[in-house]
């Protein structure tokens, strides 16, 4: 696999690897398969790239913490893939990220902190931004990506801060309202003087929000709200009990 002198053979091997990755992903990762799959991605044709990324996505499912170093090595490649033009490639790369977050958030938050750094957040944010326009990724993956961010923010406060600093607020605002948020200057001027109709900061009518909410899939709204909730400061003592009593 490592010689790669015959690209035709390589492609066949890649297909085999992809089939294997559906059944035995952990074995592939253990043997350094991730690096083999992704290191030479740019040299190959679109079809081969897709197969490689699909295999990588399968491998990232339930990846073990021991393989952290392997994941870390291919991470920049995955991050770059998030910005590629081909929809399927972006989809698979996003799936990789999502699955890695899923695998690491419970007990290895420190590893997650290394991976989900400002760079990755920037790449994911750019991906989520055309919030309403023609999305680069299918809605299911989009929703899962937001959910992944929420999981990561919940696992580590550092990640939450990085998310806030990366202007995730703009993305969330767009997801929930469909328009861009007012700039900070505007918000400060409008203190107590928002004569602009029905009162969102920016003169946004309630109808706009309602219409946007109606158009978005319900799961996305829920996950976006979840992310907002995770990014918010923790409740003071006793409040969480109050809330849980109130609603259950």
């Amino acid at each position: 696999m490592r010689k790669k002198s015959f690209t035709e053979f390589f492609f066949l091997k890649l297909q085999t690897l992809e089939k294997i990755s559906e059944e035995y992903p952990s074995a592939i990762v253990r043997e350094g398969g991730l690096a083999a799959l992704l290191n030479f991605l740019d040299f190959f044709s679109m079809h081969v790239q897709r197969t490689a990324l699909q295999a990588a996505a399968n491998c990232c499912r339930n990846v073990s913490p021991d393989s952290f170093n392997m994941v870390k090595d291919v991470w920049p490649i995955l991050r770059n893939c998030l910005g590629y033009a081909d929809q399927k490639l972006v989809d698979y790369a996003a799936l990789c990220v999502i699955r890695v977050i899923e695998s690491y958030h419970r007990s290895h938050a420190d590893k997650l902190e290394v991976l989900v750094d400002a760079e990755l957040i920037k790449a994911v944010n750019t991906l989520l931004l055309p919030a309403g326009g023609s999305p680069l990724i299918p809605t299911g993956t989009y929703t899962q990506l937001i959910k992944g961010l929420a999981t990561a923010a919940r696992a580590s406060p550092t990640i939450a801060i990085s998310l806030l600093e990366a202007d995730i607020v703009v993305t969330l605002y767009q997801i929930l309202t469909g328009v861009l948020p007012p700039s900070e200057l505007e918000a400060q001027e409008e203190q107590g003087a928002s004569a602009s109709g029905q009162g969102l900061g920016g003169g946004l009518a309630d109808m706009t929000v309602m219409q946007n909410l109606a158009h978005r899939p319900k799961e996305q709204i829920e996950e976006a709200l979840n992310l907002v909730s995770e990014l918010m400061p923790p409740l003071p003592k006793g409040q969480s009990l109050l809330l849980s009593a109130l609603f259950q």
Partner: protein, 157 residues
């Protein structure tokens, strides 16, 4: 059935943790749930993942770092520590957090008003509650007074 029981147990554990925090005793107050549940390890693991998040019991930023008794309450004490760490971190990044809150509170109000589904409403309310309990007076004026033109929500200061 098991899920509901586990949920009730966690609730009791949280309440017990809250009581022991308030009393600040040294006695390890064994919550009844730990004695009851036959599967000790999975419940603890479950507890950790559930209580690791910010939406759970918190000491509040005014209290010093966790004075929890070691031993049976380690999951709860670890989560309380994590939450106070989170609080300190957020306080230190005041500007960004406040900008986030000021932007999002009007949206959360609108989402609450516009939605019928109960989970969505609960989430928006929870986020609003968190935001408002975090901010101080000056910032609160900025985030809440944006809606001053609506007659039903006039002058929330």
């Amino acid at each position: 059935m098991n899920k509901a029981k586990a949920k009730a147990d966690r609730h009791i554990a949280r309440q017990a943790a809250a009581n022991s925090l308030a009393a600040q005793t040294d006695e390890p107050s064994e919550p009844p749930s730990r004695a009851d549940t036959p599967t000790g390890a999975p419940v603890t693991g479950d507890d950790e993942t559930q209580q690791g998040g910010p939406s759970d019991l918190s000491e509040g930023h005014s209290m010093p770092v966790s004075i929890m008794p070691p031993g049976p309450n380690t999951a709860a004490s670890r989560s309380a520590e994590a939450i106070s760490d989170r609080m300190t971190l957020l306080r230190s990044h005041d500007g960004v957090v406040n900008r986030f809150i000021t932007c999002m509170v009007p949206i959360l109000v609108d989402v609450y008003a516009a939605s019928v589904s109960v989970p969505v409403r609960i989430k928006s309310l929870t986020s609003m509650l968190k935001a408002i309990s975090f901010q101080d007076e000056e910032h609160l004026k900025r985030s809440l007074l944006v809606r001053i033109s609506l007659p039903s929500e006039e002058k929330r200061s």
